[in-house]
């Protein structure tokens, strides 16, 4: 790195000196979070992976195909993510001050890129170590196969980091490339003959239960080395205006996220419409319910990327829910994932509900009551989720060969619960002051956990209700749904 760039970044880092007390408190925080949160989660994951059901899943004939699919989705997502938040990012002031100097971008941005790349690679390597280590712990694979798969994890991470940067440097071509990776990824997952010809297919061939180390890993090494060689070119392609815009957006989102205002943080990254402006979303003369249904549908079509992602997430939720009803399936886990995906998928479909919630907490704008307005805006997401969830559940049930009635009814319940969670989320408002009170315990201040739970209560309750649904626990489902309704009614009453 250039000396001037280093000096500037040193000054920047020194702007907020930490006292010894601050450092000790930070170390204490990290240790407590590691002990109280991270360690139990890691232990639960390891125990699940090495259980009889976990090993059966990891050693099953479909596991390599799943690895192919996961890799393709990871790389495609990295490409798309780079368009909005790339790995080569500096704080806004530094981006402006250094970006307008004569220093080369590859010099300036190498450090943040390395930092982001190291995080991605650590995650993929850990995942590969977990999978390989679980199989090795049962004697299914040897040390060599384990080592090769861990190396595969490293290479997948490196390629993902470069794909992330490529999305930032080439935002326009990133979309068709990501779609191509996704389509070919699905093809390679379902047609093994294609795997030797695609990089994501090489990951499937390097999977430990695929029959031991293969030349596919060599292909991944060459690909990763070639992509790393392109990094300086990609860094030097980055435009200053886009670097500053991404930096400002990230800083704003981080500030809101740190204050647990996740809705506003997410809004910073919500795609803004550019298409369909000549399509009239509102025409007088329709019944009001149709006015809101059409207005929300056209509004969603104006950001087609978000709409497709939302519909795909709902379809994935329906598929997971149908699989959760299969005999011997880990129902609660698949159900919880389905709830999470349904909540996430409803995000792009509920702009109208968020608008209704804003209007309901402000001066009257429309000539109809707040409840009427909210109900009108709930219609579009309700229609989409019923159609997509039912279609996904039916197709999956037919393919897997399970009865479709229970999953179909379950998907309707999931849809309603996820929509309630979205409405609760839209009505949330500022954090109740009572949550700011410390809750001292021997394990530390649990007030922080309460505040964190409040900030993600919608998705937690949706996932919990869905897990209860898939695990066949109607009482728990009813209790969770009742909590959602209670929270929603309370927020509605205090909306102004």
């Amino acid at each position: 790195m250039n000396g001037r760039s280093q000096a500037a970044q040193r000054i920047w880092r020194a702007r907020r000196p930490r006292s010894t007390g601050d450092r000790l408190f930070l170390a204490y925080m990290i240790m407590m979070v590691a002990l109280v949160v991270v360690a139990p989660i890691l232990r639960a994951i390891w125990l699940s992976a090495t259980s009889a059901a976990g090993i059966a899943l990891l050693a099953s004939p479909v596991a390599p195909a799943v690895a192919v699919l996961v890799t393709a989705v990871l790389w495609a997502s990295a490409l798309l993510l780079g368009r909005d938040r790339g790995p080569a990012l500096l704080p806004p002031f530094l981006a402006h001050a250094l970006g307008t100097s004569d220093l080369s971008r590859s010099d300036l941005l190498r450090l943040p890129l390395l930092r982001a790349g190291a995080i991605v690679t650590a995650v993929t390597t850990s995942a590969a170590t977990l999978v390989g280590g679980s199989l090795a712990s049962q004697g299914i694979i040897g040390a060599l196969a384990l080592g090769v798969f861990v190396l595969t994890g490293v290479l997948v991470g490196v390629i993902a980091a470069v794909a992330w940067l490529a999305g930032q440097a080439l935002p326009r071509v990133a979309v068709p490339i990501a779609l191509g990776v996704l389509v070919l990824g699905v093809l390679a997952a379902f047609v093994p003959a294609v795997q030797p010809f695609t990089p994501w297919g090489w990951v499937g061939l390097a999977y430990p239960s695929s029959g031991g180390p293969t030349p596919a890993v060599v292909g991944l090494v060459i690909l990763a080395a070639g992509l790393v060689a392109l990094v300086p070119v990609l860094l030097n392609r980055l435009h200053l205006a886009e670097l500053i815009a991404q930096a400002a957006r990230w800083e704003s989102a981080s500030t809101f996220a740190a204050s647990l205002d996740l809705s506003t943080a997410a809004a910073a990254y919500r795609q803004r419409p550019r298409l369909g402006r000549r399509l009239r979303a509102v025409r007088a003369g329709r019944p009001l319910w149709a006015t809101f249904l059409v207005r929300d549908a056209i509004g969603a079509l104006r950001t087609p990327g978000r709409l497709v992602v939302g519909a795909l997430a709902l379809a994935a939720a329906g598929t997971l829910l149908a699989l959760a009803f299969a005999p011997a399936a880990p129902g609660w886990l698949l159900g919880a994932l389905a709830g999470l995906l349904a909540f996430a998928g409803l995000g792009p479909l509920t702009d109208g509900i968020r608008h209704a919630a804003s209007v309901a907490s402000d001066l009257p704008l429309y000539g109809i009551g707040d409840a009427h307005l909210l109900a009108g805006h709930a219609l579009f997401p309700l229609v989409v989720l019923v159609v997509v969830l039912l279609a996904a559940v039916t197709v999956c049930a037919v393919v897997v060969g399970v009865a479709s009635l229970s999953p179909a009814l379950g998907s309707l319940a999931l849809g309603v619960v996820a929509l309630l969670a979205r409405i609760d989320d839209a009505l949330k408002g500022p954090m109740p002051p009572a949550l700011l009170t410390p809750v001292p315990t021997p394990a530390g201040d649990l007030g922080a956990a309460a505040r964190a739970a409040w900030s993600v209560d919608g998705v937690l309750l949706a996932a919990g209700a869905s897990a209860a649904l898939a695990a066949g626990s109607p009482i728990l489902l009813i209790v969770t749904a009742a909590i959602l309704v209670g929270v929603g009614v309370n927020r509605w009453r205090h909306r102004r």
């Binding site: 919500r270 803004r272 419409p273 550019r274 402006r277 000549r278 009239r280 979303a281 509102v282 025409r283 007088a284 003369g285 009001l288 006015t291 207005r295 509004g299 969603a300 104006r302 950001t303 702009d351 109208g352 608008h355 804003s358 209007v359 402000d362 001066l363 009257p364 704008l365 429309y366 000539g367 109809i368 009551g369 102004r496």
Partner: protein, 208 residues
């Protein structure tokens, strides 16, 4: 139409609005003036029914203020700060949607929406989304939303904000037309142009 009798607002011992009295008959404009922090917006919030006064009474058309009452909402339109806007609707969509929810006759709703858009000079921006508007254009869209509906009382907090002198003049013309048609206007403003162009009565909170 509006009678304000010794209305004051005190929160936790802090006076947000010292007691004031004023009246504005139908077809008149009451201009509220005063330095920052004298309680102009607080008074408008009381008139719009979103804040309860600590002392005194407000009556609109002889009735107490009740924001949750449908009749009151139909009678009183207010813009105190920008109204919530939908990021996925164009300017024309926004105005038409508001008009559609207030008027039963579809043709009248379309005509009112288009007329308001033209009146405020937004016709060239009808197909823009909110994030494509400048701050002044966003202010005009806010005004368009509050004008695209029937009302007897119009309450506005600093409608001149973010507007250039030419647009302030055009807002004066638009509001004068509403006043002359019989509406009661209550406007808090720092703009001499707006005050001179509209005021039938002035309430100076600096003197309160």
């Amino acid at each position: 139409m509006i009678a304000v009798d010794e209305v004051g607002v005190v929160v936790s011992g802090v006076t947000l609005l010292a007691p004031v009295s004023a009246a504005a008959p139908a077809g008149s404009a009451l201009i509220v003036r005063g330095r920052n922090g004298t309680g102009k917006s607080t008074l408008l919030r009381v008139l719009a029914g979103v804040r309860r006064p600590s002392t005194g009474v407000v009556r609109v058309a002889g009735e107490a203020v009740a924001e949750r009452d449908r009749g009151f909402r139909r009678r009183v339109a207010a813009m105190i700060g920008l109204p919530p806007m939908a990021p996925d609707l164009t300017v024309l969509d926004h105005v038409t949607l508001v008009a559609t929810t207030w008027l039963d006759d579809p043709r009248a709703a379309e005509e009112l929406a288009r007329a308001v858009v033209v009146e405020l000079g937004l016709d060239g921006l009808a197909e823009r989304f909110p994030h494509e508007l400048s701050s002044g254009q966003t202010q005009l869209l806010g005004l368009a939303l509050v004008l695209a509906r029937p009302f007897e009382v119009l309450i506005l907090d600093e409608p001149e904000q973010r507007l250039d002198p030419e647009h302030v003049e055009s807002v004066v013309r638009v509001l004068r037309a509403r006043r002359d048609a019989g509406a009661t206007l209550v406007i808090a403003t720092h703009s001499a142009v707006l005050a001179d162009g509209l005021a039938d009565r002035t309430l100076d909170l600096d003197a309160a």
